[in-house]
Symmetry: C2
Subunit: 391 residues, 2 copies
């Protein structure tokens, strides 16, 4: 069968706030081939990704993403990889293409799963989907007191792990961050797994990061995520030499396999965090998971929008029994909750699993998302290249 259509749906909350909450908008991808439909999601700027799907060709290595996807044969996993390679070659000079391809790749895996009646993780070669320990992923409160309240709430909800990030962290004094860290530990209790996300706030400033290490060790943070931007391999590595039991975590900014491999090889990471909605889809995320296993680094999913994206993010390491920590956003805006009919929820043991049903196992709610659908249009000359498709 051939790929008949690619539809991009730009969804947004009525108001988008200037906060580190990525669930405020979404780019939902629908692909049809024969009688099958697959759904995916790019964790990317919706409008810019739409433009990269449909833009006019600039030259042979700067084509719109759809030029390498529409009309392509899709019979099995090898076709998904072939299509991804086509996009990377034909859109080599189109920077946004990796983010755009990601949602397409995810939708193609979902579509193949529907076709073969198998969950995506089985199509990836895994025999079993193992339990993951979800960590509640939240922003630091504006004050240590607010962080304490958040941590207590998470603990009372039964989460065994929590990640605090962004908000005021790293922007003020070392003492302020220390108060935040102690508040998080206090609220979680002594047994909780505490993870800390600096959100690249120190860019490449090793000293700023190092100044927080003492307290990070005191509060037994399991990892320090993104002290620096993704490419700052030398800075990551230098910090990892002093971080002791606090593992370096990073990689969400990687938009291809090579970047992730460099981080694994050169950044001193204990945890490589991959967003299937950015790195080129489930295909490349699985390649990174294989590389992580080979190099003794723990793979962790990165995700911050709907449960469709969450399911996609878990598939690449669903079958890795010893890679258990799993990002699980718990402060989603209504858009990200209402855009799917079903959800991934922790079981009685507080564990989550990649769904054991065909495809990604998450069904978009076409009625639920309607209020969030953004009407958009892109025109070049007399041609309308994009207009919000009907659901």
């Amino acid at each position: 069968m051939k790929i008949d259509s690619i539809d991009f749906f730009y969804l947004s909350m009525p108001e988008v706030l200037d906060i580190g909450d990525g669930s405020q908008d979404a780019l939902l991808v629908r692909i049809t081939a024969g009688n099958h439909v697959g759904w995916g999601e790019c964790e990317a700027s919706p409008l810019v990704s739409i433009a990269s799907l449909v833009c006019p060709m600039s030259h042979s290595a700067c084509k719109p993403v759809q030029a390498s996807v529409l009309g392509q044969t899709i019979e099995g996993a090898a076709d998904i990889r072939r299509i991804g390679n086509l996009v990377r070659a034909n859109s080599l000079d189109l920077l946004q293409a990796d983010h755009t391809l990601s949602g397409i790749d995810i939708a193609l895996w979902d579509l193949l799963g529907q076709r073969f009646g198998e969950p995506v993780w089985k199509l990836l070669g895994y025999q079993k989907s193992y339990a993951k320990t979800p960590y509640a992923s939240v922003l630091f409160g504006d004050t240590p007191e607010a962080t304490l309240r958040k941590a207590k709430k998470i603990q009372s909800q039964g989460f065994r792990a929590a990640k605090f990030g962004w908000g005021p962290f790293g922007l003020g004094s070392v003492a302020q961050d220390e108060s935040q860290l102690h508040a998080a530990r206090e609220g979680l209790g002594s047994d909780g797994i505490l993870l800390v996300d600096a959100g690249t706030v120190w860019n490449t400033d090793i000293d700023a990061a190092r100044a927080r290490l003492r307290t990070l060790k005191e509060v037994r943070a399991k990892w320090l995520e993104e002290p620096f931007v993704s490419g700052a391999l030398g800075e990551y590595h230098a910090l990892s030499q002093d971080s002791g039991t606090v593992g370096m975590a990073g990689g969400e900014g990687c938009h291809n396999f090579h970047m992730a491999r460099h981080m694994i090889d050169h950044a001193g990471l204990k945890f490589v965090q991959i967003d299937a909605g950015r790195i080129g889809g489930i295909t490349i995320a699985k390649d990174v998971a294989d590389e992580a296993v080979a190099k003794g680094v723990t793979y962790v999913n990165h995700t911050f929008t709907s449960n469709l994206a969450l399911s996609a993010s878990i598939q690449p390491f669903a079958g890795l029994e010893s890679h258990v920590i799993c990002e699980f956003p718990t402060e989603l805006k209504s858009l990200a909750v209402e855009m799917t009919k079903n959800h991934i929820t922790p079981d009685r043991n507080g564990e989550v699993y990649a769904p054991d049903v065909p495809g990604l196992g998450i069904e978009p709610d076409l009625v639920g998302i309607r209020p969030y659908l953004v009407d958009a249009e892109i025109r070049v000359g007399s041609k309308v290249l994009y207009r919000t498709p009907s659901l």
Copy 2:
């Protein structure tokens, strides 16, 4: 003074062909501050870069590029770096942002040059602009005979160096490539500097690249450019171990300083090729030039559109006396020729210089580009976010 306006102009040939010729369209950038105007160019997909300039915010680290530029103070070079850092932080998750920032950064340098009455290379700290040896940058012919004719023409035009790339090279048999390489050498004559650009055609296939090394050595190619994609550091390094006098060249795909530094540190490069219109502008390109000098690697400009982009590409290494090879596109489409009033041309010795006049020294031809101006519009909800501005 403050940045009052940013205008993006999408220019295109009436017909864009599916060939490796990047001069078929262009994204011209105009910035005004106080009474001053600066011009720049992104070497990027025009429509996608426009979308990334004006897109709605997705969250605090995925803002439109203009949010970090409009209204900013611009008094000196430190402000350009500050603005670039703002864009990288506020648009961290907006993949296209680096390409978009590049044209803005270039325009800001041009603007500052106008204001202070100094060429950009002086503002960058160089005392003198040294002669560069331009290489005619052309595509391989469809046949060895066509390549021979191109090489002879280049030689007769007085160029001492030529680069052949793309076209059929690397796509067919080793024997076909060998014929192409011998034709290029024969046409250039024994003294000509021959450069070869594989245009990432082998992706990460070391064996395919290695199979061409013998002939590349025979025809005394000074460099083999982009045998692999930019991130394939290990593959570059492995090939460099066997390439002898044929230096590895690459880096045009780098869109930030870190990527270029990794190539310098880990890819076994002799030549790092940086496109100021992609890497984040002249600011970051100059950082890479400094890094190249420190690490004993030769800096080379990468450029393929107008003489405005060419001037921008030379500024970062204008003052490096021993880094002499300079990309100089010679098969430009009429758009790229007619979009500027003046041009950089080789002198009687066949050398080119960064212009010794204020700014970039290249004036856009607002009448000349009018026929190429693309009428475009982007609408989200009831808001028109972009409409082609008036020249």
